[in-house]
């Protein structure tokens, strides 16, 4: 199986052949995957060098000239470093683009803090009108990239991960997918954490919703899942900063008493290298830690699953 980044290059290279409006802008990262496409479309595959302010500014200019730009680099250098360019060169200009990131959170633990941006989705939440896709499998990444490119002049962020679930889930458009139903609470698993959440909740009487599009947040699906159960206890499990979507869940449940536990990566800087499984354990996102925290919060225990 190829990685999400490899799928991004192959799918987007094909889209470049199909859509003359599409342009890809890179800042040195990811150029190998687009080498063949750059030979076919030298005016629409652009590498600006290690210049991330220019990366986003060029994206805004391309959009103003009528193109559909796709911008790619690591999340730290795509969202954090040129954040004002995202705010002004896209948002304020009323210009659209597809931003595709890699290495968002703990994807390259040995790379350390300089190559991690677990606050990327929270930062985009300070701006208006961003769609955020978090695929959990390369197949989902391909589907969501196609949706993103086809979304008119919308502003879309696609967060690719090294971590992947074993199998891709069906395309639900922007809505959450009900993977498992239970009565003691609702767990929303985002993108590549689905497999860990399913393992963690095995035998627990909880509903599991799967989200690959977190903005807009499918509050209707969450409200419906809560309404069907006896307890409005909600756990969000996100592969980025803990609590990023907590306010969205609270808004969706404004008309019903509820509690929300937001799980994700810790704000505290780990200052550890190592591997993805080690970082998942450190953030309490491995199956055993998740099971303990979800069971403690919801009161769901193995064997209490409703007879129905």
């Amino acid at each position: 199986m190829d990685t999400m980044r490899e799928r991004f290059a192959s799918v987007t290279s094909r889209l470049l052949d199909e859509d003359p409006r599409l342009a890809v802008v890179l800042a040195e990262i990811g150029t190998d995957g687009f080498a063949a496409a750059a030979r076919r479309h030298p005016d629409r595959v652009l590498n600006v060098g290690i210049r991330e302010q220019l990366l986003v500014g060029v994206g805004g200019g391309l959009a103003l000239a009528g193109m559909r730009p796709v911008l790619h680099t690591f999340a730290s250098f795509l969202v954090e470093r040129p954040f004002e360019q995202i705010k002004l060169d896209l948002g304020h200009q009323d210009a659209g683009a597809v931003l595709v990131s890699a290495y968002g959170s703990y994807d390259w633990p040995a790379g350390g803090q300089t190559h991690m941006a677990p606050g990327d989705v929270a930062l985009l939440d300070t701006l208006d009108g961003w769609t955020v896709h978090v695929p959990g499998h390369p197949d989902e990444a391909g589907t969501l990239l196609r949706h993103a490119v086809a979304a008119g002049d919308d502003k879309v962020y696609v967060r690719l991960s090294q971590q992947s679930n074993a199998v891709g889930m069906p395309d639900t458009g922007a809505g959450f997918l009900t993977v498992r139903e239970g009565a003691a609470g609702v767990v929303v698993a985002v993108g590549p954490l689905l497999d860990d959440v399913l393992a963690a909740t095995e035998g627990l009487d909880v509903t599991v919703l799967y989200a690959t599009t977190v903005r807009p947040f499918d509050g209707a699906a969450l409200r419906a899942a809560v309404g069907a159960g006896r307890a409005a206890d909600v756990v969000l499990v996100e592969p980025y900063l803990a609590g990023t979507s907590t306010a969205y869940a609270n808004d969706a449940l404004a008309d019903v008493p509820h509690r929300v536990l937001g799980l994700g990566t810790a704000r505290r800087e780990l200052r550890r290298y190592g591997t993805v499984p080690e970082h998942l354990r450190a953030h309490g996102l491995d199956p055993a830690s998740l099971r303990e925290r979800i069971a403690a919060f919801t009161g769901a225990r193995a064997g209490t699953r409703a007879a129905a």
């Binding site: 342009a23 103003l64 000239a65």
Partner: protein, 242 residues
Amino acid sequence: MTTTTSAPQRSPAGYADLPHLMGLMTGDEKHGPAATSTLDALWVLYDRVLRVTPATAEAADRDRFLLSKGHGPMAYYAVLAAKGFLPADWLPGFGAYDSPLGHHPDRTLLPGVEIGSGSLGHGLPLAVGTALGLRARGLYGRPGQDPRVWVLVGDAELDEGSNHEAIAYAGAAGLDSLHTVVIDNSSATHALPGGIAARFEAAGWSTATVDGHDHEALYAAFTAPHPGRARAVVARVTPAYA
């Protein structure tokens, strides 16, 4: 009855009308130097160089002018009003809640305005992207189809590093549809005399440095051929804050 009540209404006006149009925004106050430093370059561009009119303000192959130095936009608004892009009767509302004319321009509120600006260092990267986009669409480089992109920056604005990302890339890419006008009123801190043109030249741009109030010199610098190279014109004006 006075002679000052006949404000131009959409009908094209001349250079001599610009002080009156600016006065509609500023009242009797003296025009700010940041605004007047750009007035001559803006006038020569809109009067003799840019191939865009109110009728072609949305045309795909129009020339684009991006005001990056978005503070002190009265001269810009006055020129747009003189050329009929904006009705002159909008000008007295300058800065008011229900006016589209802000102290920094917003492209979504104003006809003929290509970018919203105010935060320094955004126009040149946007201009690079616009030039690349016009080329990718096949609108530039064909005979008779060569929309050009112009961006106006201030000398102190060049302190912002984002400009240098754009200058380096556009020079190396040989973006000859791209034109940068630098209004040099010696306002940059830590500036090296002569350093502006030298920086563009080092990146492979074609450059000229001229008197920013001399219309013929500006016109000649704006229209000189520069095949295969981006063009920078440094317009020297009176130091704003001595």
